[in-house]
Structure formats: structure tokens, C-alpha cells
């Protein structure tokens, strides 16, 4: 049978789009972008992180347009990003300057500055509550200043404590320009900057699943200890004229995780003696995305310190499968017409059957 190009779907496609829009508005009322911004913070955080574009308004719009379909919202945001020029690169952003709104350590009870719970669902009942109305509970309280030893934009890091104890050796600053996977595809073996950029924009579920698999036995197989999870507002600066007098352009919310991993390899001290130390797995995401940031720290360590032929130590396996747009794009394309390629398969099967039948 010969190949014949056909057309004729135009009217059906137009009708399908109309039906889709009608279905979107079937209830007869709509919510606004502002409603999503006001009530769906966590969803916005996840979308911005996976899309690798920080803007709460655009993320809310993408959620509305995609009817809450996360993969579609991420796709829309990535597509929009590709239409915009890149005007600037920030100066080096350091989370030591973060205005911390939440900071907990699972490794040390007493940390300088204290355990600050901030806003978190961790302590709420996981029971459905049909009363979601805003209680307006900002009752006037007498102002009592809480004494504190550290400003929230200068909280020491928990790794500093480990370093003081001689249990962690801080590396000298590596100022090499990072690779950028949005400009050039990842090449394997990947660089550290490619791995971290890829992990931070990975699909939350995929990053979490692979991080979990790594701990369960398909990799380093060790329970990490979370040295610090911090969430807060991070100032961003640019210095386009390279004068050293930078412009502040805004704050972004970040989640940072430093996970302690007992190092398999020993460090050598100045006298040539070997000693056990800790290594750090690192996670950093846009928005408050704690589970993803923790899983990122696990995968970062797993890729930085590979174990045999474990799947979670294989950078090509991990990095090429966690991207939302690539994985959902490929899987969903399977439902699109493959008439010609399938016809070829069909012809081969028919031919084989014919040969066997002779």
C-alpha cells in the first residue's frame, strides 16, 4: 500500500478546541488569576520551579489556562519564557544573605539563631476540613519584642557549626562560569553546574521518586541527615556596567537544603592522617518546595559521589528523565497520529505472517 498524504482534520480540530473551551467554562463562572495567586501558593511555587521561571503572575495565569494541569502549565510557562529576551545575568547570589522566614535542622537541636518553624503545613492535621474560609484571625495582640541574637538576614549556617568542629571541610570558592543547559544541551559526563540546574528545574514527582529510590537501596543507600532547611526571601542584584555598584532588582523566595552524608572516602589532614568527615548534598529551588529540595540534595550527592552502576548515580539516566516538558511531551506525543510509521510496522508483521503461512 502506498503512502498518501491526507488532510481534512481542520474542521474537527476547530470544533475540538471549541468543545474544550466550552468544557472549561461549563460551570458558568470563572476564577481570576488573582484568586490563584491568593490561594494556591504551593502550586505556584511548584510551577515556577519546574518551569525555571520566577514570576508569580505568569505562573498563576498558566495554571488557570491549563485548568490546573501542572505539566501543561509548566509547558506554557517554558514556552512563554522562550519568547522573552534575556537582558541580564545576576551577580553571584548567596543564600547567606537570605531574609530567613523558616529554618529548621533535623541534625542539631540547638543551632545559632534557633529552630524557626515559620509558615509550614508540617504541623497541621491531615484531615479534610470543609471550612476553608479565612478566619480573619489577626486579632490585635499586645506588641512584645522577642529578643534575638541574629538578624534574620544574617543567620549563620549549620554547616559553619560542623566546620568549626572539624567535621566538614569547606572548599575554596570556585568562580568558574557555570554551564547553562538552556543555551547548550547537557553533555555527558555532565558538569556540576549542569546537574544542579537540571535538578532544580526537574519535575517535583520525578526528583522526589528518584531521591527516594536512592535512599532505599538503588544508590548510596544511606539515610541523609538534614543539616538545614531554610526558606526565605533572597535579594537578587545585577551589575550590567560592571562597576561593582550593583542594582537590586527584587527578592525571590527560595528553599535551600544542606544534607549531611557520612563520607565513604576519608579526608587527609595536614599531617597525612586519614579522618572521617561529612560531605554535603545540596538542594536549592524556587519557592517553598521543601520535599523537592531535600530530594535534590540526595540526588546531588548521589551524582557527585557515584556508587557502582546504581541508576541514581547515572547522570544520563537521572537528568534526561526528570524534566517535565521532555518526559510528558514525549509520553503524550504517543497519542498523536503515527499512521505512516505504524503502517510500516504493520506491513512487516503482515509480511512475516504471510511468509510463515506459505
Amino acid at each position: 500500500m502506498g503512502y498518501v498524504a491526507v488532510k481534512g482534520g481542520t474542521k474537527a480540530i476547530q470544533a475540538s478546541v471549541r468543545m474544550y473551551k466550552d468544557k472549561q467554562h461549563a460551570a458558568g463562572y470563572e476564577i481570576e488569576v488573582e484568586h490563584i495567586k491568593a490561594n494556591m501558593n504551593q502550586l505556584i511555587n511548584q510551577i515556577m520551579s519546574e518551569a525555571s521561571l520566577y514570576d508569580r503572575d505568569l505562573a498563576a495565569l498558566s495554571i488557570l489556562q491549563a485548568e490546573g494541569n501542572m505539566e501543561e502549565a509548566v509547558f506554557l510557562l517554558r514556552a512563554h519564557r522562550s519568547t522573552l529576551p534575556r537582558l541580564h545575568y545576576s551577580t553571584v547570589t548567596n543564600t547567606r544573605d537570605m531574609f530567613v522566614e523558616r529554618r529548621v535542622s533535623a541534625s542539631f537541636k540547638d543551632i545559632p539563631g534557633g529552630q524557626i518553624l515559620g509558615a509550614s503545613p508540617d504541623f497541621t492535621h491531615r484531615l479534610l476540613d470543609d471550612d476553608q474560609s479565612f478566619a480573619g484571625n489577626k486579632t490585635a495582640e499586645a506588641y512584645t519584642e522577642i529578643p534575638h541574637t541574629h538578624a534574620l538576614d544574617a543567620l549563620p549556617k549549620v554547616i559553619d557549626y560542623l566546620e568549626q568542629e572539624g567535621l566538614f571541610s569547606k572548599k575554596p570558592e570556585d568562580d568558574r562560569e557555570p554551564d547553562d543547559i538552556t543555551k547548550q544541551s547537557i553533555e555527558f559526563p555532565s558538569s556540576r553546574s549542569e546537574r544542579l540546574q537540571s535538578l532544580t528545574r526537574g519535575q517535583t514527582g520525578a526528583v522526589t521518586s528518584l531521591g527516594y529510590a536512592e535512599i532505599r537501596g538503588y544508590g548510596y543507600s544511606s539515610h541523609p541527615n538534614i543539616g538545614e532547611v531554610r526558606v526565605g526571601q533572597q535579594p537578587v542584584h545585577i551589575d550590567p556596567f560592571d562597576t561593582g555598584d550593583a542594582y537590586y532588582i527584587g527578592d525571590i523566595e527560595l528553599t535551600e537544603v544542606e544534607a549531611f552524608m557520612p563520607a565513604d572516602e576519608d579526608d587527609m589532614d595536614d599531617l597525612g592522617n586519614t579522618e572521617k568527615t561529612f560531605k554535603i548534598g545540596y538542594g536549592l529551588t524556587f519557592g517553598q518546595n521543601e520535599t523537592k529540595a531535600i530530594a535534590m540534595s540526595v540526588l546531588d550527592y548521589s551524582l557527585e559521589h557515584p556508587v557502582g552502576d546504581a541508576a541514581t548515580s547515572d547522570d544520563e539516566f537521572v537528568l534526561l528523565h526528570i524534566d517535565s516538558v521532555e518526559s510528558t511531551g514525549f509520553i503524550s506525543h504517543l497519542k498523536l497520529p503515527h499512521y505512516v510509521t505504524f503502517q510500516s510496522v504493520l506491513d512487516r508483521v503482515r509480511q512475516t505472517k504471510g511468509e510463515h503461512g506459505q
Binding site: L53, D55, L87, T93, N94, L117, D174, V236, Y282, E304
Partner: protein, 139 residues
């Protein structure tokens, strides 16, 4: 005042003040527009603390305006879609570089510093209410 400082004060605490300053004084300073407010991206470079290396976490939406007087360029860049603030910041940047209207700017910035200190004190207190008091647990 360092640029890092005044841009922070206007963006965080003085959006209206910046726009009002621009509306009030724009006719007193000659300038040409290089580029009207337009949206674009800034790629954010971060330092990670495991190996102390650099990587790109992603981009943020920004609005940028450029104006000039002769060879002096005034630049206004701000997070998100915010044409008016970006335009006002470009004008204020030009004023600082040309060293004009400094007294008026310093008056505004002094007020914004007060606003900032009140905000930070109140926000810090609110956050520290969620600090765990282990002594209390032992009681």
C-alpha cells in the same frame, strides 16, 4: 548612598514614592528614551554550599527601561511586570548619576529607611513567634 541600597529601598518600600518623584520632576531633567519599559529575563547565578561552586537556578521576569542624557545612561530594572516603577527607577538612576535633585531624593530615602526599619522589626517579631523554645518543653 550606594545604588544597591537606594534601589532596594524604592523597590521594597517606596514604589509610590518613586513614581511620584518621576511624575513631579521629569520635566526638570532633559533626557532621551533609549528603550521604553519592556519585559525580559534575568538569569540568576547562585553559589551552592557543598562544593562552593556556581550554577544557574533559573530566570526571573523583569521590566527594564533605559534613558539617557548625553553619554549618561539611567537604568531601571525591577522584578515582574511593572512598567511604571521601571520607568521611575531609570529616571532616579539618571538623577543620581547626573547628581541632580539629590536633596529631594535623600529626603524620600530617609523616610523609606524609617519605613524599612519598622517593617523589618515587625516582620522579624512575627517570624520569631514561631521559634521553638526548648526550655519551655522541659518545664
Amino acid at each position: 548612598m550606594e545604588r544597591k541600597r537606594w534601589t532596594s529601598l524604592f523597590i521594597k518600600y517606596g514604589e509610590q514614592e518613586a513614581i511620584e518623584f518621576f511624575n513631579t520632576y521629569q520635566s526638570q531633567v532633559d533626557f532621551d528614551i533609549i528603550s521604553e519599559p519592556a519585559e525580559g529575563l534575568t538569569m540568576i547565578k547562585v553559589r551552592e554550599h557543598a562544593e562552593n561552586s556556581l550554577f544557574y537556578i533559573g530566570e526571573m521576569l523583569v521590566t527594564e527601561t533605559k534613558i539617557r542624557q548625553g553619554q549618561t545612561v539611567g537604568l531601571g530594572v525591577v522584578k515582574g511586570s511593572n512598567a511604571k516603577l521601571s520607568e521611575a527607577l531609570s529616571f532616579i538612576d539618571l538623577c543620581f548619576k547626573l547628581e541632580v535633585l539629590l536633596e529631594a531624593l535623600e529626603d524620600i530615602l530617609a523616610k523609606l529607611e524609617l519605613k524599612e526599619s519598622v517593617f523589618i522589626k515587625s516582620r522579624t517579631n512575627e517570624i520569631l513567634k514561631t521559634k521553638v523554645d526548648f526550655d519551655m518543653m522541659a518545664e
